[in-house]
Amino acid sequence: MDLVTVTGLSKRYGGIVALSDATFSARAGEVHALLGENGAGKSTFIQILSGAVQHDAGAIMVDGRDYRPANPDGAQARGIAAVFQELSLIPDLTVEQNIWFRREPLTPLRTVRRAELRRRTLALLEKYDFPPLRPDQELRRLTLAERQIVEIAKGLAKEPRILILDEATSALPAREAEWLLKLTRQLAAEGRLVIFISHRMAEVRAIADRLTIFRNGRTVAAHEAGAVSDEEIVTQMIGRHLDRLYPERVATATDRIALKVTGLSSGSRLSGVDFALREGEVLGVGGLQGHGQRELFQALFGATRASGRLELWGKPASIGNPRQALTGRDGIALVPEDRRGQGLLLTKSVRENLTLSVIGRFSRRGFLSRQKEAELVREMVGFLRIKADTPEQAAGTLSGGNQQKVIFGKMLLTEARVLLLYDPTRGVDVGTKGEIFQLMRDLAAKGYAILFHSSDMPELVHVADRVLVMRNGRVAATLEGERISEAEILRAAMLQREAA
């Protein structure tokens, strides 16, 4: 009999349908993988399951009884715990305080029994063979990987019958990730249900008994893991053939160097990056996560302190802050990583967001011309086909794809012709993804020079003219033409790792 059965589950956020009519079922004692692209509805699904978010419609049965938790406590009461990506941890509490938060053993004076807390922590860590952690260390001193492990410990401390692991391996180094996979099997063997979310096919293949695939907020398929091929899974996740997503790659690069970077360094994350970006070129930046890609983009944009030489269109340039970067025809514009935190004023209108970086373009002696502004806005809304009721609509009410278009518009309104795109398709629907890739090629054809990072390797392979592969804060390889493939990128990213 199934431990969890979900039928007709739906959830909307404003205009965005996160889940519609999703179904799911899983048994005790299995590892059940949840697959889908970004924005497919996986995270909404597990947020509902863990009580963090309430669904609009549909039914969840756990143990044959109706289940509708009002909050995470409600979920815990039914034996369900979720391990998110360091979401529920408190920076100023210690590791052990975090693991047992709100369930601490108490003395008769209602204070925490510290010795017992320590004992329980060590027992838990030992039972599941955790990587070394210091129980008395404050969480904010830990690395991302260690925090993720604490989050896992916190989930396990609740002795759940159903444990949800959301991309729990993505922040872990190799050895710790393997430990987690083994742990997952151990938990299933103890008769628990583990719902496992990962983007990594190999991991899913290694541990999952069954898998459920989400796309655009719907359940598209559920399989026994052994009965389905990788290709089938990918096709079901994407829902159409890959090649239609990507525009034809026409070489538009000229010989003119738009951006020349020599010896760019920043802290320990970026050490001596050299490359040249040409006019009309889409230059991909790849490599394993966390090898300096983020710092490279931020340093070029002046958002992080860095040393090294920059030349823009043949002239030496110094960029100390984003304001300098954005100024003039020799400027650099950025589509930032964090759309809501760095890119958009969510409560302000589409108009105000679009023109925020170019107020000088429609003002004279510091005073605005609303008419000129309206022209710019109209032009950009039309050009990018931004779907908004009026330009006065608050940017936060748009769909993810349209929000990203507003950020693109904001960038294109500046006169900068060197564009830095950091993961521009993240959390964007498939249709808009295609539009963004087409736009990138069109801009390249117009003579823009584009530096492009994506956390999704196939995007680099299909869109970029050349790919810089970063490793340990340096450019480890530059791939061109036929050599651009996922295998080559990975090889360059990992080669000599033992030596490094």
Partner: protein, 320 residues
Amino acid sequence: MSAFLARNRLIVLAYAGMVVLLLVTALFSPGFLSVSNMRSTVVLAAFVGIVALGQTLVIIGGGIDLSVPWVLNSAAIVMALLCGGQDMPLLWVMPLLLAGGGLIGLVNGIGVAHFGVPPIIMTLATNVILQGLILVLTGGSPTPSAPALIQFLSVGRIAGFPVIALIWIALTAAATLLLSKAAFGRHLYALGTSATVAEFSGVPTARTTILTYVISGLTAAFAGMLLTGYSGQAYLGMGDAYLFTSIAAVAIGGASILGGSGHYLGTVAGAMVLTILTGLLPALNLSSGALLVVYGAVILITVSIGSETFAGLGTRMRRG
């Protein structure tokens, strides 16, 4: 027009509240709407309004200025001391003290923007430091009476209009221009909404922050000098009430204390509401204690309405 109303609902509400309050007051005290009484109400509101101009800008930018009371008081006292009751020195004393107020604002702004000191602490510190320095300077003794010229600015009239009301109108026009028509205004709203997004969008965040505190220093110092003219003398503690009223006027005018929204036009209504209430209570035979209770209640009610609007926006966002 309806779009304007929708966007500035809280400001419109503040004015509606002001009108209702006026009518209610007139009901209880028939003389209230008389020309002379309205004139004195506007004069009193102008002092609050002028101080609150700087406060409005600072709050829209996401900060707060607690140094207002003693910037005001310092300007008042130093002006009285330097002028010694004569008009002529005003010609250099006024610009000097405005610059002084601006300088205090500059220090506040640099502390907040460049040294990362929380605005509450930064402006609290400059406030007590100024307070101490002025106390040391005067030794607690009274100052000479205010020069006639400054009295003219505070209580004089031009063609029946109080001069200070004309000054207030001019300042309101200037602030409106700054917030609605100038690049500075755009920068300021962006800064108050999200400092990170503003920085990433090329907004000169530090310069904008500093400028708001400088303007706040200027308006507080200016108000201090005018207030000296109004009372005929500068005295210790004359600025104390303006900390509360300047923040209250901004809040009643519909600005969010978190920054990013609001307008000086709303603050003008807020200043009027606070002052009309002061006039209403004697008519109802209520004490000054009751006035404070009413002030508190009015703030709670207006910010609750603001919060409701926000909640309403939230549901609209969810329903799309």
